[in-house]
């Protein structure tokens, strides 16, 4: 049996962790764009877009991410495409992230006081103008801490893509474990790398929220 | 021996010394009003007597029980003095009756039927027997404060500390609470109250303490304190009241 040094293990894991980072970024940015679309549908004044976005959010928040990954993987295959794991992983994570971000942002938009809508309407602004100039700028400010906070969930969510065969940090952990028979050490390192990725995000989300609260109290 | 003996009590919050050596003895049955500007340390003094704030030096004794920061001593002390808060602090998930029963059962291990009988008696005493099953959010501020008084009385304390008990009330509700306090005083309960109700202090109290800058600045019977204030600070304080 080949001996593996700690450095061998860590190096292999770190190489794979790059894909965790890439997939997290893609999911977060893609999910943000789709989520923004969903948000506008969710707060639109016409009934059907609202219903659609509501059902979408319910569906993606009410089912396991793992099932969504399987459905993306096998569902895309139904179209006769030979689906690489990274594609199914990216699609599923983007759709999943979008649902959560849309819901977080809706809460922020709805927390803007009714008086702001009324005041801007009384100044003759149209709905889009109200959104663009009055509501969104305020909502965006309070949306930042929970959005950063959710990015932690995205990073952790990417670990499930290992199950459909995408080689990122978790999959690499399993592969290295199978080669070294050192599950305690390897998964310990894997956890540590995730922690290093997530902890700064968690902390900055908390920091931003505290800052926001202080700013609000001073008003 | 006095019921409450406060000797050279000092208390700081960080670098800010709020109590700068307080001496005060309270005899059984006395009704004492503590007056003074906000920030003069009067609420802090009350909270120290109940162990809600730890003192930096000096000593506080209530009927022989010494104030010490450990739970056993605190409990012994708190069984002797009850406290009424400005914001009532009723337990929102319990009815008026349950509010009065809870600490009897938890702290004194009183069996439920006896605790309930006591609760009915105490609510009766504050004129709220019919509100036994009402939740705090179904009561007016004045009624809530009267329940809080009944809750403290049910523990059969030797003295009551009242921290601005009418300050959070709408003006029309102040009198019903003061009436209850006045009755307690008439029954011989020892009361130590921080208050802004000068007329009440004048009519009901045996002594008035004027606190200024963390010290007892002037002390005496109400006729003296209100009628012939000795220091310019007290004169100014009383003048500002009108």
């Amino acid at each position: 049996m080949i001996e593996f040094s700690n450095w061998d293990i860590l190096r292999n894991l770190l190489l794979a962790a790059r894909w965790t980072v890439v997939l997290s970024l893609v999911s977060f940015v893609g999910g943000g764009i789709v989520g923004l679309g969903l948000l506008f549908m969710r707060i639109s004044r016409s009934r059907w877009p609202r219903l659609f976005a509501g059902a979408y959010v319910e569906l993606f928040q009410g089912t396991p991410l793992l099932m969504q990954l399987f459905l993306a993987f096998f569902g895309l295959a139904l179209f006769g495409i030979n689906v690489p794991a990274w594609l199914a992983a990216g699609v599923a994570l983007i759709l999943w992230t979008a649902a959560f971000l849309a819901e977080i942002w809706r809460g922020c938009v709805e927390s803007i006081a009714k008086g702001q809508w009324e005041a801007s309407a009384s100044l003759g602004m149209g709905r889009m103008q109200q959104m663009r100039y009055v509501v969104l700028p305020q909502a965006m400010k309070i949306a930042i801490p929970p959005t950063v906070g959710f990015s932690v969930q995205v990073v952790k969510g990417t670990s499930l893509t290992s199950i459909i065969g995408f080689v990122e940090l978790s999959k690499a952990g399993t592969i290295v474990t199978n080669a070294t028979f050192l599950p305690f050490t390897v998964y310990g390192y894997v956890a540590l790398i995730y922690f290093v990725l997530c902890f700064p995000l968690s902390k900055s989300s908390q920091y931003l929220e505290r800052k926001l609260n202080v700013a609000h109290r001073n008003h | 021996m006095s019921l409450i003996e406060i000797t050279d009590v000092r208390k700081s919050f960080g670098a800010n010394e709020v109590l700068k050596g307080i001496d005060l003895n309270v005899e059984p049955g006395e009704v004492i009003a503590i007056i003074g500007k906000s920030g003069s340390g009067k609420s802090t003094l009350l909270r120290c007597i109940n162990g809600l704030e730890t003192i930096n030096s000096g000593s506080i004794q209530v009927a022989g029980a010494q104030l010490a920061p450990d739970e056993l001593h605190l409990k012994a002390l708190r069984l002797k003095v009850g406290m009424i808060f400005q914001s009532f602090n009723l337990f929102p998930h319990k009815t008026a009756g349950q509010n009065v029963m809870l600490s009897q059962m938890v702290v004194k291990k009183t069996p439920k039927p006896e605790a309930e009988a006591m609760a009915r008696k105490m609510l009766e005493r504050v004129g709220l027997a019919h509100k036994f099953d009402a939740y705090p959010d179904e009561l007016s501020g004045g009624q809530q404060q009267r329940v809080a008084i009944a809750r403290a009385l049910a523990m059969q304390p030797m003295a009551l500390l009242c921290d601005e008990v009418t300050s959070a009330l709408d003006p029309e509700l102040v009198q019903e609470v003061l009436a209850v306090v006045k009755e307690l005083a008439a029954e011989g309960m020892t009361l130590l109250m921080v208050t802004h109700e000068m007329r009440f202090a004048r009519d009901v109290c045996s002594r008035v303490v004027f606190m200024h800058m963390g010290r007892v600045h002037e002390i005496g019977p109400p006729a003296e304190v209100f009628g012939a204030p000795k220091t310019p600070e007290l004169r100014q304080f009383l003048g500002a009241q009108h």
Binding site: L59, G62, T63, P64, L65, L66, M67, Q68, F70, L71, F74, G75, L78, F79, G80, V152, K156, G157, S159, L160, S162, I163, S170, G173, T174, L182, P183, F184, Y187, G188, V190, A191, Y194, F195, C198, F199 | N50, G51, L74, K75, R78, L79, G82, M83, F85, N89, L90, F91, P92, H93, L102, S103, V106, V107, K108, D137, A148, R151, A152, M155
Partner: protein, 223 residues
């Protein structure tokens, strides 16, 4: 597309699905009960407990919240045996869920305690209750009531997250779906059915938790 959906396998395999549902339900109910209890204990420790305990609990909470559930599960199931701790798949799954929910509910309950306010503590203390008695009889129920919706969402998240316990061969609902697709080669249909069952379970669980809320907190919050 030429694909024809086929659900005829349901007739033969509904028993497998049912068994999976029961395991998922059992894991969720037991896991949620123990996990929330752990969370309450940790919330007590972090806000009112002895000073030496606070950093320990804080470290536990941060470690769990900043690593994936899957890795926690693998660490427990594959890693701990090398320290001599042996567990069945179900035990490992349950332990991972309890530890995970414990950390999240700690922070949620702690927020509830903070929102309950100092006045309630002081009222309890001034009546002679100890710190623990005040927490138990005065603060806990209103605190839980304030955060019950957030806690309920977290429990649903843990139930959905439990789908990955199939990866250590705990025979839950997702395990059943894997099993069925490996036998029938109807992968998409298997996962669609399992997904819909999860959705139904999530909706059911939310209602159940609402009901528990009505029992635990017969009073609507006053403010």
């Amino acid at each position: 597309m030429g694909y024809v959906f086929d659900y005829s396998w349901l007739a033969d395999y509904w028993g497998v699905l049912l068994k999976g549902v029961l395991v998922t339900a059992e894991l969720t109910l037991v896991g949620a009960t123990l996990g929330v209890s752990l969370g309450v204990a940790c919330a007590w420790a972090r806000s009112l407990g002895p000073r030496w305990l606070k950093p320990i609990v804080a470290t536990y909470v941060e470690l769990i919240r900043n690593t994936p559930f899957l890795i926690q599960l693998f660490f427990i199931f594959f890693g701990l045996p090398s320290l001599g701790v042996q567990m069945s798949e179900i035990q490992a799954a349950l332990l991972a869920m309890v530890i995970n929910l414990g950390a999240y509910s700690c922070e949620i309950v702690r927020a509830g305690i903070q929102a309950t306010g100092q006045g309630q503590f002081e009222a309890g203390w001034s009546l002679g209750m100890t710190r623990f008695e005040t927490f138990r009889y005065v603060v806990l129920i209103p605190a839980l009531q304030k955060i019950w919706p957030a806690l309920s969402s977290q429990i649903v998240i843990v139930m959905l997250g439990s789908a990955v316990v199939s990866q250590i061969a705990a025979e839950d609902l997702s395990f059943a779906a894997n099993f069925i697709q490996s036998r029938t080669f109807r992968a998409f249909e298997s996962y669609i059915v399992a997904t819909l069952i999860y959705l139904a379970l999530a909706i059911l669980l939310r209602q159940l938790l609402r009901g528990v809320g009505f029992v635990l907190f017969p009073r609507r919050s006053g403010r």
